[in-house]
Symmetry: C2
Subunit: 150 residues, 2 copies
DNA sequence: CTGCTATCTTACGTTTACGTAAGGAACAGA
DNA sequence: TCTGTTCCTTACGTAAACGTAAGATAGCAG
């Protein structure tokens, strides 16, 4: 069984793909674009290994794409900030100073906030659209009721 | 000035594109797919003319695409029902019988309801995502507060 | 009628986001 | 060590949704 030195479970691309619901090709493509840490430790030509954090990240990407309709290019923009936090996250384990840990968290927060902003914006648009549709429906039903038919 | 027999204003493709915020190519493409009434009265090889209803329809299509991420193919599915209501709408003007008018409205309602369903489904997914992001943010801030730094 | 501008059709080009096939290593189990 | 999976890289293929260019027409202004 494959494990890290810290005893963390590692997954191969087949498991990950199955689990997240994307193809292996998609995962490789995302990695190629730098959306996943290409810095994943593995020998060139050997099997990729993913941590739970990697899987969570992948899920996040898929969601941002499906729900918000972001392009992979736009995800790359968002990812740059995320990469930093990914990098910082690696330092987290070895970091013992509170000051450094605080710095790490502080750097990661804006990324999440940005995503929330995008979600909220989309929610507003949807609410607007919903209101219009509801109105339309109400008016149609009213007109229907005013007609002289059983 | 170009008008219909009922005095309704008609628009050329340039105006429509500018107005709605899409290219002329997009409009022609949508028409080609049957998303807009290809039954628009015009001589082959002559200029297309659009009514306000056409413009509203186009706006609706664009929104369904951007907000819900529907493919043009999926829009075509939705459109079939809409075509019927489009067709019925034409008969509306000339229809005087309450019974017929009621029939027309009743046929158009399910189409709007279907769109509302799609909007609601998307809203639920977004709310879920929002909750997760908010949680994440809260936890990060809490951890930050518990660290021994000013 | 003339000229100018907006549209028309036709048709090939482009980008995004993967799909898919080929040939060859890497792993895991017996 | 053998062997059947699983994964690797490389590279060409593809579907969707338009972009773009060319040459011809239509419609309006004077």
């Amino acid at each position: 069984m494959t494990e890290t030195t810290t005893g963390e479970r590692l997954y191969k691309i087949g498991e990950v793909a199955e689990d997240v619901g994307v193809t292996q090709r998609t995962i490789r493509y995302y990695e190629e674009l730098g959306l996943l840490g290409a810095d994943r430790a593995r020998l060139k030509g050997s099997h990729r290994l993913f941590t739970d954090a990697d899987i969570a990240r992948l899920r996040e990407l898929v969601r941002l794409r499906k729900l918000l309709g972001l392009s992979l290019d736009e995800l790359t923009q968002l990812a740059e900030a995320a990469h930093v936090s990914q990098y910082l996250r690696a330092r987290w384990e070895t970091s013992t100073e509170d000051a450094e840990r605080a710095e790490i968290i502080e750097a990661a927060i804006p990324n999440v906030e940005r995503q929330l902003d995008l979600v909220h914006a989309r929610q507003r648009s949807l609410a607007e659209f919903e209101a219009e549709l509801t109105d339309k429906l109400t008016r149609m039903r009213e007109r229907l009721a005013h007609l002289d038919t059983p």
